[in-house]
Amino acid sequence: MKITEKPVAFYPEFVRKSGPHKETTHYCPGCGHGNIHKMIAEAMVDLGINERTVFISPVGCSVFGYYYFDCGHMQAAHGRAPAVATGIKRANPEAIVISYQGDGDLAAIGTAETLHAANRGENITVFFVNNAIYGMTGGQMAPTTMIGQKTATTPRGRIESVHGNPIRVAEIIATLPAATYVERVAIGDSKHIMKARKAIRKALTNQVENRGYSFVEILSTCPTGWKMDGPDARDWLVEEMTKVFPLGVFKDESDHREGAWHRQVEPFDPAKRDAYLGAGEAEAKAEKLPLPAELHCKFAGFGGQGILTLGLFLAQVGMRAGLHASWIPSYGPEMRGGTANCSVNLSERRIGSPLVDKPNLLVVMNQPSLEAFAGDVVQGGTIIVDTSIVEKCPEYPGRRVVRIPATGIADEVGTPKVANVVLLGAICAATGAFPQAFVEQSLRETVKKKDLVDLNLAALRRGYEHVGDAG
């Protein structure tokens, strides 16, 4: 019995994808990216490489590649995927590195990176998804837009004398001596699709066998940008695009390059990097304080309340205690509403991702933040609420809620600006993470203006006392 179904190189559920639908993609109906993803995932399984693949997502509609493939990921700045791929491949030659890029990414802003990575013959695989438009930004002209094709920026169609001609990237790459394999395929009709599937496998197999740089241009569809339905878009691809972008193999030296493509570069040595950055020294100098439990924190409030600085304070205390620490502010949609949040991890082990989706400590300084994040807090976690500002704070079953009028206390101490320091005291008391004297010393060393040290210390102590008294 043969079953053809979702390849296991896709995550069972796309948990990183926002919104309620975790098993479908974020792509529009009929979009070619989905077909190409599927064929890449299938090839990863069949070649047994997903455990060592690093998929580099571009800027474009496929920016969220990391939602889908169960492999390593890096999301590159616009057009820079081949440069990022070069770094990853050279640092870790065992990795199978995929640079997945659209036409805007690869052939406009990233033209230089594209040509130079090919010209160096990097042992990577590039999948170039040519849909003749900038899909993500609303259908503007791309370097590969066809003559006469209407886009948001060529409302009367692309005109040769004004906008130049569509660029045939595969043909250009094929002129570079270092490139190993260059083919253009399409996802038009079934014959095309099955050929594309073969080319994708070959381009990955080449990398597994160290045969050097492989480039597969895949003519794809953007039904939304083209203002067509799925089937019409496939027809237009077959009838029109293939005239300007002929399909076929433009170069294939695969058979002559077996094993010959191991680079003569010094292998990457993490110890050398750490020595260079002085990272090892800092670790050695810090006193080591054990942490009762790993902290995965989310701090949220209005911009200007010092919520991001609170996160930084805690991360710095953690670093002084010899812990691994991460701090990352969020500029998600909630930023636009004038609110801010940051994530902090403190651990005795290395931290894999700085993101915190399921905090065990949440500190909120406004009502919308409580409502947005309280549901994410894990069972047994702690929620600290500034009740000077948050009016409604219900109970959350299985979670400890610490109520503290932090802004009011700070005002009593001298200024509402130190509300975040009151909260720092509350955090340390509630989690038992650090001895009070240690946090006080850290604060003394961190606060830049020395005349403000006493104010900050007073705020910190009031935070500690409040939680100590309450619990």
Partner: protein, 76 residues
């Protein structure tokens, strides 16, 4: 599939909730055995469905479908 009833003919399964109604599977099926439903699914798409006969298990619909998990092809 029920364990006791072993299917002998190839067939496909379309998960109506994971289908975006793009009709690409319909266009490629050499046997013409996929159609689009009158009903809407939870995401407001008219999903594709299998007519329940004559599938050859060629899997062309699977590769034409952009969604990872909408179509499953079984060839006994």
């Amino acid at each position: 599939m029920n364990d006791s009833v072993q299917a002998t003919a190839p067939f496909i399964e379309i998960d109506a909730e994971l289908c975006k109604g793009c009709k690409l599977c319909i266009g490629v099926c050499p046997k013409g055995v996929i159609d689009i439903s009158e009903k809407l699914n939870g995401s407001s798409y008219h999903p594709a469905y299998y007519l329940g006969r004559d599938c050859t298990g060629c899997a062309l619909c699977f590769y034409a479908c952009p969604e990872p998990a909408a179509i499953k092809v079984v060839k006994p």
